[in-house]
Every structure is written in C-alpha cells, then in structure tokens.
C-alpha cells in the first residue's frame, strides 16, 4: 500500500510543524480520533474510531516521530490495529514555503505500509483511496484550525495573518 499527497496550509512552517507534533491538535484534526496521548517526546498512542459503510470498529494506533528536522520534515513510523486488521508502515512529510505567499506552507507526504488481516483482502487501491481521503480531511481541518489561531492572535514578527482559507 502506497499513499502520497500535497496540500497548501495558511501558516508558516514553524507553526505547522508545532501543530503536527501537538497531541491536542492531532486529536482535533484526525477524523474519528477519540483519544491520543504523548507517551514520550516522539511517541504518541491513540484510538481512532472509523464508522465506514458496512464496517465499524476502534483502532489502536501508536506512532513514533523519526528523523525529525524541524521545521522542514519528519518521518512517522507506526502501526494501526483493529478488527479490520492492521497497517504497519512509515510516512514522511516535507514542509516547504508556499510559492508567492509570505506565510503559506506546502506539505507533501508519502507513505507506504503492509496491510494484514481482512482489510488486506480488499483491492489495495481501495485502502489507498481511503487513507488519502482521511489524510486530506485531516489537513483541511488543520488548515481551518491554523486560520482560527491566526485570526485570534496576530502572529509574532508583525506578519499579516492571511485569513483566506483555501481548499
């Protein structure tokens, strides 16, 4: 299983990187995330509940940040485990400055993993489309949150916060 994608976020890289490492933010932006705790500076453990047509179930997930180079990039190794089987793999994301915008960020991610259990019996493209869709929903939610944060407190260094929210 291989996934990849990109998104444009309306906040500077440092803010985006901090957000992605903050369990409170992750809890809010990950679809169906019920609980998440930081068990070490780089390790998170949580529960995600997905109600998909025909399938229900909670998934325990533990993720470790590896090779993190703030605010440019980081790797995430981890495992998602539940009644539908398990996915073990690694994802990497790179934060770049958005072209033509003082404070925008472009996030590019790639990921691969081995699916086991019932989910493995589906066409692997099915799982890939589902993962990419969930990740893009998460990034959209992150963007909305960053926009709210920017609107409430003008960011330090006098940069004019952009309030335009892009898809």
């Amino acid at each position: 299983m291989n996934v990849s994608g990109t998104a444009r976020l309306n906040a500077p890289r440092e803010q985006v990187f901090r957000a992605i490492c903050d369990p409170r933010v992750l809890m809010e932006i990950i679809p169906g995330c019920d609980a998440i705790e930081q068990v070490s500076p780089t390790e998170y453990r949580g529960v995600i509940t997905l109600r998909l047509p025909g399938v229900v179930g909670a998934y325990r997930t533990d993720v470790r940040l590896v090779d993190a180079v703030a605010p440019e990039r980081s790797g995430m190794e981890g495992r998602l485990e539940g009644s539908m089987g398990s996915i073990a793999g690694r994802a990497d994301f790179v934060l770049g400055d958005a072209p033509g915008s003082a404070s925008g960020t472009v996030i590019d991610y790639t990921g691969s993993g081995v699916i086991q259990g019932p989910l493995a019996r589906l066409d692997s493209r099915f799982a890939e489309r589902l993962a990419e869709s969930l990740i893009s929903q998460g990034l959209r939610a992150l963007n909305l949150r960053l926009a709210r944060e920017a609107a409430q407190s003008p960011s330090p260094g006098g940069l004019r916060p952009t309030t335009e929210v892009s898809e």
């Binding site: 398990s86 086991q116 259990g117």
Partner: protein, 448 residues
C-alpha cells in the same frame, strides 16, 4: 443405405435434468454433517515476502477455534501436482514455509466450529512478513536483476536443460531471405478466471475403518485422489473420493487444492471438515488461464505461401508451475498453426511472476496460439492482397504433412471446416477451394 441415427442429431433429454430443474441434485457443499468443522485459510496479504513468523496467540482465544494447521503438520508439504507424471522440480508448497510468492498464498489453515468463528480467528492471526520486490510482467521477469521468483534462481521452467521449449524445423532464416514479404505481430492475452458458479470445495469425513470419504467438486477425481495420497503419505485405498454434480469447472477445478488440507483436518481432529472457497477466494486465488505474449514473424512469397514462421512466446505461469509447463508443451506443438510451413522456429518460455499461479482453462496453451496465428494470417492476407479465405486454403495442412515438431498430421480437417463455414456464411468459394480435401498430397509434391 442410410443408417437411421437414434441419438446423433436428436435432442435427447438428459437423465439428470429433473434433478437440476427441481434443485434436488446434491452438490458437494449442499451436504452438512453433525460436528462438521469449517476450514478458513490465512493467506498472504502481499505479493512477495519472507515469512519470518506466525503468531496464533490471539486467534486461539476465539470462541469456537479448534486448531490450526501449518506446513509442519503436512506429511509431504509439496504441491507440485504434475509430479504425478514426473514433472520436476518440486517447487510449490501446500502451506507456505518461509516465503510467500503471490497474494493469497495459503499459510495457515484454521479449523473452527462455525464459519464465523473461523473467519474471526483468521482475522486475528499475525504474520511477521518482510516484503520483497515483486514482478508482474513476463518480459520484465526475464531481465537480469529482476526479482527472482523461483527457488532455482531464474524465472523460467527448465525444459531438458534449456530455459524454453524449442522447436526447430528447416532453416527459418533461409526462408526469410527468400521471402517477398516479412509480416510481424505481437499478440498478448490476459489471465482469465474460470469463475464457475459453484466455487471450489470439498467435505472430508473420517470413517470408522480408518478410511476417509471426501465429497469434492473436482473435475479430476483420481488426479485429486492420487495427489492427496502423496501429500498426506496415505495409500490411495484409504481415500474414498466421491464426485458427482459439478457446478461448472472450465478447468478451474483441477487444482487439487482443497482436498489434501480438508482430509488432513479430518485426520487431526477425527471430525468432518468442510473447506469451500468464498467467491473472493475463487477470484483471487483459484488458478486462472495464463496470460500469454506471442511474437510472430512470417516470411511470405508474393503469391501468399508462408515459407518461414518464427514464434517467440511467453506464458505467465504466475508464482508456481501447476499445469503451465504441460500447457507450454502443448502450445509449442501448435504454435505454428494448422498450416504447412517448410521452415519453423519456436521458442516458448514458461515464465514465473508474482501473480496467482495459472493452470487449466478450456484448451489452455492452444487457444492463445490460435488467436495469435489467425490474426497474423489476416495480416498476411492484407499484405499479400488476397482475401482471408484464400491465404488459409493456400497454406492449409493436409494429412501426412510433417508438422514442425516432426509428427505427421493426422485427421487434419481445416479445409473441410472452412468449406462448411463458407456455406454457413453464404460465401461462394472458388471451385479450386471447393474441390480441395485434407487427403495426403500426391507423392510428386510430397515431402513438403
């Protein structure tokens, strides 16, 4: 004196017809027995990987779980079904040992009181896999550096020391030199799943006298019995295979893949065991007809006689051999088509990839050769400027002609078939073609 035919040409009612239209005929899986266990298979989720460990701890806790079967439980864990006719090497396993080579390859069989319990237990088996690169195209598989699928190191079946089945007849290069036209084509077919409406399945019952009765919808009853006997190291007279209604097979039920494990399950638990494929298993794991890639190069004279034919073809056997080496040999014998051609050169490769292993389906090995050759004949007709009938009558072979693999043609009927077809479609053949027969050629033309 015309003999009056009572059956041939009549529409005779079938003896099993009432059973079919009332649904009373019993198919294999229509039976159920008290205490019957259900076998569900843990399969490889990836195309190619090292299998480093199997963790059954969670699966064993499932309510209704009875036991698991792994490669260690199989007396002779080899599943090379053509071993019966001396085809070697032994390369496929009944249950995977330390490597999986196609998605869906069987690893652990789970026996449980109910299907639901078996499926739940299967979902809780954890595999320790290290994924390996995989290859899915026949020509890529033959490139140096391609992922190696077989355990003997190269991705082709070895035919008497050569990596392909070779046919040499006359001098094909000489023929090309003399030819007025060279016509080339590449033809490829895709894997086809037979998809019988009734999926592959069997029920194995332990009998009081130490024998095992196996109800199975296999197409090849004794082929299955013999292979099961080898795999379980049990003499054939202790296995009582019962066939009967088969809900479609089309070659999809000569795999001999469910009977050995169901019988082994019955042996280990002394209870009946039912092992029936789900539809997704039949589609993903049951062996398909192989995909084929066929390159054809012909040397043709200006008046449409084919004097040289060079065929290079690749069969995609998938991860293991099963029936494909046999299909490949049949292919090589027919790859030049039903035509009398003085110079023929054939190389036919049985190639391994990380696809589902392929096997029999309705004339496998020859149907794709016919597809390639007949399209090629139309191309030749176009190039030479004659109609498709003429090109075929001109080159049709007759009884007594020596075929490329040095066997005389017997009961050739291409000419008569085309004549009948012409009548059916209302095509008026030239008198010369109407008069042609498949009888041996007059001797002065002989030795063709």
């Amino acid at each position: 004196m015309t003999t009056e035919l009572h059956v041939v040409g009549q529409s005779v009612a079938r003896s099993d017809g009432v059973g079919s239209v009332t649904g009373r005929s019993l198919f294999t899986a229509d039976r159920s027995f008290p205490g019957m266990l259900h076998l569900k298979m843990v399969r490889s989720p990836v195309h190619h990987a090292l299998l480093k460990g199997v963790d059954l701890s969670e699966a064993e806790k499932v309510r209704g779980f009875v036991r698991a079967l792994t490669h260690a439980d199989v007396p002779h864990n080899v599943y090379t079904i053509l071993g019966l006719i001396g085809v070697e090497p032994e390369e496929e396993f009944v249950l995977a040992v330390d490597r999986v080579r196609y998605k869906g390859e069987p690893i652990v069989a789970i026996l449980a009181e109910t299907e639901a319990a078996a499926m739940e237990a299967v979902s809780k088996v954890r595999l320790d896999l290290e994924e390996l690169p995989a290859v899915f195209d026949v020509e890529e598989a033959l490139q140096p550096g391609a992922p190696v699928v077989t355990h003997w190191g190269n991705n082709t079946f070895m035919f008497e020391g050569h990596n392909c089945r070779r046919v040499r007849y006359g001098d094909v290069e000489q023929g090309f030199a003399e030819a007025d036209h060279i016509v080339e084509g590449v033809y490829s077919t895709s894997p086809i799943e037979q998809a019988p409406l009734e999926t592959t399945g069997c029920i194995a019952l332990p009998e009081a006298n130490g024998r095992y009765t196996v109800y199975t919808n296999t197409q090849a009853l004794y082929f299955s019995l013999d292979n099961t006997s080898i795999i379980l190291q049990v003499p054939g007279n202790r296995l009582h295979f019962i066939g009967g209604m088969v809900g479609g097979g089309f070659g999809g039920k000569v795999d001999v893949i469910v009977e050995p494990l169901a019988t082994l399950g019955a042996m280990k638990t002394n209870r009946p065991v039912r092992y029936v494929y789900s539809r997704s298993e039949e589609m993903q794991v049951s062996s398909t007809r192989s995909a084929w890639k066929i390159r054809v190069k012909d040397g043709v004279t200006s008046d449409g006689r084919i004097i040289a034919r060079k065929v290079t073809s690749y069969a995609d056997s998938g991860a293991y051999s099963r029936q494909t080496p046999y299909a490949l040999t049949k292919h090589a014998a027919n790859a030049a088509g039903p035509y009398a051609i003085p110079n023929v050169w054939i190389d036919a490769y049985c190639v391994y990839t990380n696809r589902t292993p392929t096997s029999a389906m309705r004339g496998f090995g020859v149907t794709m050769a016919s597809f390639a050759i007949e399209v090629q004949m139309d191309r030749i007709a176009e190039r030479v400027g004659v109609d498709p009938w003429t090109i075929r009558f001109l080159n049709a072979y007759r009884n007594g002609d020596i075929k490329p693999h040095r066997k005389p043609a017997e009961d050739a009927t291409l000419i008569e078939t085309m004549q009948a077809a012409a009548v059916l479609v209302g095509h008026d053949l030239p008198e010369a073609f109407k008069a042609m027969t498949s009888d041996p050629r007059p001797t002065q033309e002989g030795g063709r």
